[in-house]
Symmetry: C2
Subunit: 283 residues, 2 copies
Amino acid sequence: VPLKTISILGVGLLGGSIGLATKSLITGCKIIGYGHRPATLSAAIERGAIDQGTTNLQQAVADCDLVILCTPVGLFRPIIQQIAPVLSDFAIVTDVGSTKRSVVELAAKHLRRPERFVASHPMAGSEKRGVEFARSDLFKDALCLTTPTALTDPQALAEVEQFWRLLGMRITRLSPQEHDRWIGQISHLPHAVAAALVTMQDQASLALAGKGFMDATRIAAGDAGLWRDIFLDNRDNLSAGIQRMKAELDRLLMALDANDEEAVMAWLDAAASMRQAMTKEKQ
Amino acid sequence: VPLKTISILGVGLLGGSIGLATKSLITGCKIIGYGHRPATLSAAIERGAIDQGTTNLQQAVADCDLVILCTPVGLFRPIIQQIAPVLSDFAIVTDVGSTKRSVVELAAKHLRRPERFVASHPMAGSEKRGVEFARSDLFKDALCLTTPTALTDPQALAEVEQFWRLLGMRITRLSPQEHDRWIGQISHLPHAVAAALVTMQDQASLALAGKGFMDATRIAAGDAGLWRDIFLDNRDNLSAGIQRMKAELDRLLMALDANDEEAVMAWLDAAASMRQAMTKEKQ
């Protein structure tokens, strides 16, 4: 079934990039963008990311084949509640949120046809925000996680995964619970840690920051509101991750306090070996 | 005074890069490399980083104008003890170590003319090691910290700083104590944190690692032996940094446990604003 009309709810970096990628890769597909600020919609139209924009949520989704939630995850509840009554029976709904348990629950609770909701997490983006940083190749060669449940219509799942593949992504399926646990550990925790590393600096140390510090903390520049939503939504997994992080640092503290060369070496070597192997694998 | 002979003790990434940079920027200067493995010395000669190599430490420094310690900091004590008896009276000695209190103390204790030792920390390098990754432009536009003391001969200090400037670096002077405190906070602590972030992952989470995680943990791939020396040498400052890091994470934990949107937002926003300002400053 060819996609005729796609509705992108939230035309920031991700929504805008989906628009640009779709328009460059799928012909004959109309893209409607929703946003609460007319200026954002104008900018998205100017950039060619959407064909038309509206600040009316229900208008944005009426008669669409595919609706993609691209706002911060904290807005998913009101959006899903508002679009539920006007979605057509054939519409497929997906999202790009960094947490998955809550949105799956919201869809199951509020949508008339929850089986046609397919939760997605395209792992692309940057610390930048806004449609002005959108790129048609943002998703190329990146990983997209989908988290279908027993409720999910296999046909809808296949169509959503096919859409992400068209944009250049590889697909990995997980349960919403697995997703939030592993992503909490490999993405949300590193963000918290990078933010803490930045905050604890002062003018004297910041003046000495080199490339290593800039790389290690780049993610901390990400939009605070967007990350607040993610942190709160996944706070059980994030809290558990922080506790494990503190325990890992305590192991180093003990080795340092004891001036134990072998223990410090073993601690550092385990990390260096793992990290070097990751670089090799990505090559 | 033109430099006629430079002795580079340890021809890895940093030593090799100093050799390459010197040969491309200073004419008529002979470079002698010391290493304990003949194969490393051959590789350094082949790359054009040194003119001749020796595995005899005392031969390497005899009759040299400038001696540069480029080994891991854990080797500074035996090296300084061994070169002390054979250094000529006019020789200037410097180093490239990432800690400064201990080397300043070693020089004061063991060198016949400690006033001609100028401690340096050129802030360049990468997680790579070995002369095969050496680059003549490694130091270009980077920061070099010098940590003179009341003992330091101003003429020797001026000559060493002029040498680093010739290699393209900016100079900042600090006391050895300030250096180890601030560098502990902006460089050694981030390394420890990145290593902990890597070690606590498992196969399931590693499979989902994106660009953010790779950037945030790149430094953790650095040579474990080199970093063991640094961690042990600066363990008081590093331990204090880890404690502050844990306190910072505890502030987030409390906000998460209380599901306190405003506190989580404030915590994230402080870091994002600081980090965004750093990016702007570097531009």
